[in-house]
């Protein structure tokens, strides 16, 4: 800063530029003054003199191993939150805390509670803080943590493949039929794609917002979903149009595949979490449902390719881009990652889908005859796309 000041004085020619940067410092100086008054002068002391602390705890992850419950807990509050005692099923239990049972703002601690939990049953946890406030967490169905054995990993990879890659590849098999379709049906196909993607967008966004509620309030995971969605959309549109033209053909198909891929990563998280949280009995049912649901994602990827001559390898690549992210999704989800990061994944997924909705929509409008894109056929296509996705979602 002193450098700049010097230059203003000694070199008037460059001074204008540096001077402008100097002016930028003014608001920060103003802010510093405000903070100094509040923190040093303490004019608000009266307000907080008798105010009890605000305490918040969120359980990020629970892992069960034989005879042991491990909790990962994040804290927030006006001062560090001390978890003084822990009840399991209405009884105080011995526990150890790592690094400490006094958890700083937004810090995370792990609590190990030796406990003879019962396979398949529900257990209730209550954390009592130093001030006597209580925070509850329920383990709906107790199952042992999926071990890191190669068999378990193989199973999870299989689930991910059935969930994402296989159905998308199957959906792409509709390509020959779509290519052979008469000229007038293109609008219908794009509208159908928009409908399919529209459902995925709403679904991804609402799941992101739902999971965001499990994170600490201060982290504002709900806002993060919206912000990450908007940022992703803008970024992908910018990338897609970097050559000055909107993406069409293979490029558009790749963007659709990418958007669906991020979405399927989120689906993988959900299925993995269900496996990890003891809904393993639902696994087959879930995978069957998602597989049926995801076949139509293949249609959406194939739609922009009808004017192209893509090779088999291209299709394999598109299917991999859209379907394979489900595999790491399942594996991450099974390890119970925190709601905050899960919400971010869903936000990015929603943004990626929104981008392709915009691009497919733009293409549909460009290719429509002068009377516009809002034809009965197109509206039917869009509605059918939504209906297919909603209908098959009921199977999950």
């Amino acid at each position: 800063m002193s450098d700049g000041t010097e230059e203003v004085i000694t070199r008037p020619s460059g001074g204008r530029f540096h001077g402008r940067w100097l002016w930028l410092a003014l608001p920060f100086l103003g802010l510093a003054a405000i903070l100094a008054v509040i923190l040093i002068g303490r004019p608000l002391e009266q307000l907080s003199a008798s105010a009890p602390p605000v305490e918040e705890l969120s359980v990020d992850a629970v892992t069960l191993t034989p005879g042991l419950i491990s909790l990962s807990v994040q804290a927030d509050g006006s001062s560090p939150v001390t978890v003084a005692q822990i009840q399991v099923d209405g009884a105080y239990r011995d526990f150890t805390a790592e690094p400490s049972n006094e958890i700083g703002r937004l810090d995370v601690a792990t609590f190990d509670i030796p406990y003879p939990w019962v396979e398949g049953e529900t257990h209730h946890l209550v954390m009592v803080t130093a001030s006597g406030a209580t925070f509850e967490h329920t383990i709906d169905v107790a199952v042992a943590e999926l071990s890191a054995s190669s068999a378990a990993i193989g199973q999870m990879i299989l689930v991910g493949l059935f969930l994402g890659f296989a159905p998308v590849a199957a959906g792409l098999l509709a390509y020959p039929a779509m290519r052979g379709a008469p000229e007038g049906t293109m609008g219908f196909m794009f509208a159908l794609t928009i409908g399919l993607l529209g459902y995925l967008f709403v679904d991804t966004l609402s799941e992101g917002l739902e999971v965001a509620e499990g994170a600490l309030g201060r982290l504002r995971a709900g806002s993060l979903v919206w912000v990450s969605m908007a940022a992703t959309t803008m970024l992908l549109i910018a990338i897609g149009r970097r050559g000055g033209r909107p993406p069409e053909g293979l490029a558009l198909a790749a963007f659709i595949a990418f958007g669906i891929g991020v979405h399927n990563f989120g689906e993988g998280l959900a299925v993995g979490a269900a496996l990890g949280a003891g809904a393993a009995a639902l696994a087959t049912f879930l995978v069957v449902g998602f597989a049926i649901h995801n076949v139509s994602e293949g249609f959406a990827i194939a739609a922009p390719l009808t004017d192209e001559e893509p090779g088999l390898l291209t299709f394999a690549g598109l299917a991999a881009l859209a379907g394979l992210p489900a595999v790491p999704g399942v594996m991450l989800g099974a390890t119970a990652i925190s709601p905050y990061w899960t919400a971010l994944c869903f936000g990015i997924g929603a943004g990626a889908i929104l981008q392709v909705i915009i691009e497919v929509g733009a293409m549909l409008i460009r290719r429509s005859p002068p009377r516009g894109a809002m034809t009965v056929v197109n509206l039917l296509g869009g509605t059918l796309g939504l209906a297919i996705m909603y209908g098959t979602a009921l199977l999950v």
Binding site: V54, A91, Y92, D94, S100, N101, V126, G132, A133, G217
Partner: protein
């Protein structure tokens, strides 16, 4: 979770971090705890209560009786006087858990006031707390001394003297009767009032009366304990998070109560638990006699190992361990919920 979960707060300084260990060793010695043998972990609280900061220890509460100051009135009658002060005080009710209590004399339960049947009692009550309080005695007395309204309901910064006759003999209690009642009681304003029978008035049950009357030779061989069964609703949701006899969760499990098996045991048992309808005391490995309200010299229940008390009910338990082998004998509320939330204790019966 809502940011509205605001709680009165405790100075965190001095709370030891993770768990430790003297208390755990005490439990390890409690070999009769069958669960330790086949379950991982233990049903316990983690850490130690700073009794010094509280200003009282659970074992003091157990055996301390406040006899007040006595004098003789012109008509030859014994006058017994106490000064009891109500103060707001934060107490550590379980390791690391602080409760913003309202107390008599800075302790919960308040002092166990002890006197003899027929005496004139004067309790000088000073309200140094932040709300109106009173001392409502469970005894036979006049309406003006009831601690419900009028001068006997004492505004902050003022005082009042309750004057009553010590009748009937028995194991009684006192508590604040200001409104809202539930809040004033569960915040900690309660204690035991013990009126010993006057042997001169009970010629037909002389030995029993002498055994109860403090200061007599017959009384000297008894090992007496006051146990006020209570709970604390630390998050103010009208359900107790902690239960205990004499406030400190698991206190007599971590440090069993040492007794000599050759001498009989008498427990003055009072139930002031709020929110839950009943509380109880169940003894392991033995049976006992029970005197409901302590107002009789013959047991009202004989040969039982569990008694139930509703809120405000109390009585006397007399236990004989003379023919038992030494060891740890558990006793606790037979509401398993209360037991596992802190109302869990042991007698360490020694060969003496």
């Amino acid at each position: 979770m809502p940011a509205t979960r605001r709680q009165a707060f405790a100075a965190l300084a001095g709370i030891s971090g993770a768990a430790p260990l003297a208390a755990r060793q005490a439990i390890a010695q409690a070999s009769s705890r069958s669960e330790a043998a086949h379950e991982p972990g233990a049903n316990k609280v983690v850490g130690l209560v700073d009794h010094e900061a509280n200003g009282f220890t659970p074992h003091e509460l157990l055996t301390e009786f406040d006899y007040g100051d006595t004098s003789t009135s012109p008509d030859g009658r014994t006058v017994r006087e106490w000064t009891v002060t109500a103060v707001d005080k934060e107490i550590e009710i379980a390791p690391g858990v602080f409760f913003p209590a309202w107390t008599y004399q800075g302790r919960v339960p308040g002092p166990a006031l002890r006197c003899v049947e027929g005496e004139r009692l004067k309790i000088h009550f000073v309200n140094a707390g932040s709300h109106a309080h009173s001392i409502h005695l469970h005894s036979i007395h006049a309406a003006s001394m009831d601690g419900v309204s009028g001068p006997s309901l004492v505004e902050p910064g003022t005082n009042f003297t309750y004057e009553i006759d010590a009748v009937p003999f028995g194991c009684h209690l006192y508590h604040c009767h200001a409104l809202p009642l539930k809040r004033h009681i569960h915040k900690g304003l309660y204690g035991a009032l013990i009126i010993d029978p006057d042997p001169a008035r009970h010629p037909n049950n002389l030995a029993a009366a002498q055994g109860r009357r403090h200061g007599t030779a017959e009384h000297g061989r008894w090992q007496e304990f006051v146990m006020v069964m209570n709970g604390f609703d630390t998050n103010f949701d009208e359900e107790n998070e902690f239960y205990a006899a004499n406030s400190i969760a698991f206190a007599y499990a971590n440090e069993p109560i040492r007794v000599a098996r050759s001498r009989p045991i008498r427990i003055y048992l009072v139930n002031v638990t709020e929110f839950d309808l009943v509380n109880s005391l169940h003894l392991h490995g033995n049976f006992y006699d029970y005197y409901d309200h302590g107002t009789t010299l013959t047991p009202t229940l004989q040969m039982v190992d569990t008694v139930m008390q509703c809120q405000g009910q109390r009585g006397i338990i007399e236990i004989d361990f003379s023919r038992h082998e030494p060891g740890l004998y558990m006793f606790h509320a037979h509401q398993s919920e209360f037991a596992e939330l802190g109302w869990m204790s042991f007698f360490d019966v020694t060969d003496a």
